[in-house]
C-alpha cells in the first residue's frame, strides 16, 4: 500500500483491474485521470473509492488520483501493469 496524506492504495493495478482507494477524510469525491486517455470522478462511500481501469489502457500507464482539495490536495499514483494480478 502507498499514498500520501489521506488517500491510500496499492501502487499497481492489473490491466482492466480495479483500483481501490482508502479515503481517511470526509471528502465524498475522488478524481482519477489517465493522461491522454480519460478522467473519471468517483463517489466515496464507506471510506472507499473504486475505479476500474479501462480495458484498452495498457501496462506502463499511470493513473493519477486526487481529492482535489486546496491548498494541499491529497494525491497518489497507481501504475498499470500488464498481464499480472494486482
Amino acid at each position: 500500500m502507498q499514498g500520501t496524506n489521506r488517500l491510500r492504495t496499492d501502487p499497481t493495478v492489473a490491466e482492466g483491474g480495479v483500483i481501490v482507494v482508502h479515503v481517511a477524510e470526509g471528502v465524498r469525491q475522488v478524481h482519477f485521470t489517465i493522461p491522454g486517455h480519460s478522467t473519471e470522478t468517483v463517489t466515496v462511500r464507506g471510506g472507499r473509492a473504486e475505479f476500474r481501469v479501462p480495458a484498452e489502457v495498457r501496462g506502463g500507464a499511470t493513473v493519477l488520483v486526487t481529492d482535489g482539495l486546496v491548498p494541499r490536495p491529497s494525491s497518489t499514483t497507481v501504475t498499470v501493469v500488464g498481464g499480472q494480478s494486482r
Binding site: M1, H22, A24, G26, R28, L64, L69, P73
Partner: protein
C-alpha cells in the same frame, strides 16, 4: 473479625472500584462492530483543526461524570500493519449551544466556552496487521488521549475540539460512521477551454455533499493560478447563452446568476493533467425548507490569455436530514472550514 490481610484486600477492592475507568463509545451501536467509514485523527495524518459535535442523546451515560480521556479505534477497512505516527495535539471541550445538525463553520460558535483538557504529544502506535484477528479498544489498536484536566460533563450537547499539528505523520485510519443522506448531481452542457479538452467535465460537486447543514465543496479544474468565479443560479437556462458573441466560441453560459463567488485556481496539482483546482465552500443551511430544493452551478475562468466556462451542474439537495446526532467541522492550514453532519469518528470517552 477480619484479618488485616482481608481488610487490606477489601480496601484495595474498594479503591479499585472507585478508580476503575469505564469507556462509553459514541455512537454506541459501533462499540463492538466496525462502522462504515474511516477518518484521521487531526495531526496524525496531516495538520488539521477539527471539532466533533455530539448530541446529548448519545451521552446520557456520562451525565455527572468526569471525562478523563478519548480513544479512537483503528478502522477495519485497511488490514495492513500501520506505522508509528506522532503529532502535537491540543484538546478543548465545551458545551455546544446547538445540536450537531446545526453545527456552523465558526469554531468559536460551536464551543463558546471550551476549556483546555490536553496539550502535548499524541502518538499513533505501531499496529500489526488485523488479518484474522479482531480489533479491540485497547493496545496497539487505539490512539489514546489521557486528559491532563478531566472534563466534568453536566449534560447537554458536547463539542470536542482537536487541533493537531503533524510532527511525524503517517497513515493511521480510524473508524468512523457515515449517514447515507445524499442529494443528486447531473452534469449538463459542455465545458470549454484547454482543460476541457483534456478532462471533458471540469466542474464537480459530490452528490453526498448536498445535504442540509453540510458544506458542499464545489471544484473546478482549470489553468493554474487563473481566476475563477462560481455562478449559483436557480436552474439551468432553457437556452444557453452562446459566448461566441464576446469572442469565446464554444463557450456557453448555462446558469442565470443569483450569486457569483470569486476564487483562485491553485498551482498545478503536481504537474498532472488536472491542471490547477479551485474550491468554493458552499454552506447549505440546516433548514427543513431546503430539503429536496434544487439549484444550478457553473464556473467561469479568466486570466491572462485564459477564458473558459465549465459544464453546468444540476443540483438537488437531499430530501432527508442527517440523523447521526454527530457532526464534524474540519479545517486544514490555509483552507476553509467544512461542516459535515454526515460523517463522524467513532469515539471512546473514558470516564
Amino acid at each position: 473479625m477480619k484479618t488485616p490481610l482481608a481488610a487490606a484486600a477489601v480496601a484495595a477492592t474498594l479503591i479499585g472500584a472507585l478508580t476503575a475507568q469505564s469507556l462509553h463509545v459514541v455512537p454506541n451501536a459501533w462499540d463492538d462492530a466496525d462502522a462504515p467509514a474511516m477518518l484521521s485523527v487531526p495531526g496524525i495524518t496531516g495538520s488539521e483543526r477539527q471539532q466533533v459535535l455530539i448530541d446529548a442523546s448519545h451521552l446520557a451515560a456520562l451525565v455527572g461524570r468526569d471525562i478523563t480521556g478519548l480513544l479512537f479505534r483503528r478502522d477495519a477497512g485497511d488490514a495492513t500493519a500501520l506505522s508509528l505516527a506522532t503529532a502535537t495535539l491540543t484538546v478543548r471541550m465545551g458545551t455546544a449551544p446547538h445540536a450537531a445538525a446545526a453545527a456552523t463553520a465558526d469554531f468559536a460558535a460551536n464551543a463558546p466556552q471550551a476549556v483546555l483538557t490536553y496539550q502535548g504529544t499524541l502518538t499513533a502506535p505501531l499496529s500489526p496487521s488485523t488479518e484474522g484477528r479482531p480489533i479491540h479498544w485497547s493496545g496497539a489498536d487505539i490512539i489514546e488521549i489521557v486528559f491532563r484536566t478531566p472534563y466534568p460533563y453536566a449534560g447537554g450537547n458536547l463539542c470536542i475540539e482537536l487541533d493537531g499539528v503533524a510532527t511525524s505523520p503517517g497513515w493511521w485510519p480510524i473508524d468512523a460512521t457515515e449517514d447515507p443522506a445524499s442529494g443528486s448531481v447531473v452534469a449538463d452542457g459542455t465545458a470549454c477551454g484547454n482543460r476541457a479538452q483534456v478532462l471533458g467535465q471540469t466542474a464537480f460537486v459530490a452528490a453526498a455533499d448536498l445535504v442540509v447543514g453540510r458544506t458542499a465543496i464545489c471544484k473546478l479544474f482549470g489553468e493554474p493560478r487563473s481566476n475563477a468565479i462560481l455562478i449559483v443560479g436557480a436552474d439551468i437556462l432553457p437556452t444557453p447563452t452562446d459566448l461566441a458573441l464576446i469572442g469565446a466560441p464554444g463557450c456557453f453560459l448555462y446558469v442565470a446568476p443569483i450569486s457569483a463567488i470569486p476564487s483562485t485556481m491553485s498551482d498545478s496539482l503536481a504537474g498532472t493533467p488536472f491542471g490547477g483546482v479551485a474550491n468554493v465552500h458552499l454552506r447549505i443551511p440546516p433548514l427543513p425548507a431546503l430539503l429536496a430544493a434544487s439549484f444550478a452551478l457553473q464556473w467561469v475562468e479568466t486570466g491572462v490569455g485564459v477564458f473558459a466556462t465549465s459544464n453546468a451542474l444540476r443540483c438537488q439537495i437531499s430530501s432527508s436530514t442527517p440523523a447521526l446526532g454527530m457532526a464534524t467541522v474540519w479545517q486544514r492550514p490555509g483552507g476553509g472550514a467544512v461542516v459535515d453532519p454526515t460523517t463522524a469518528p467513532v469515539i471512546g470517552l473514558r470516564y
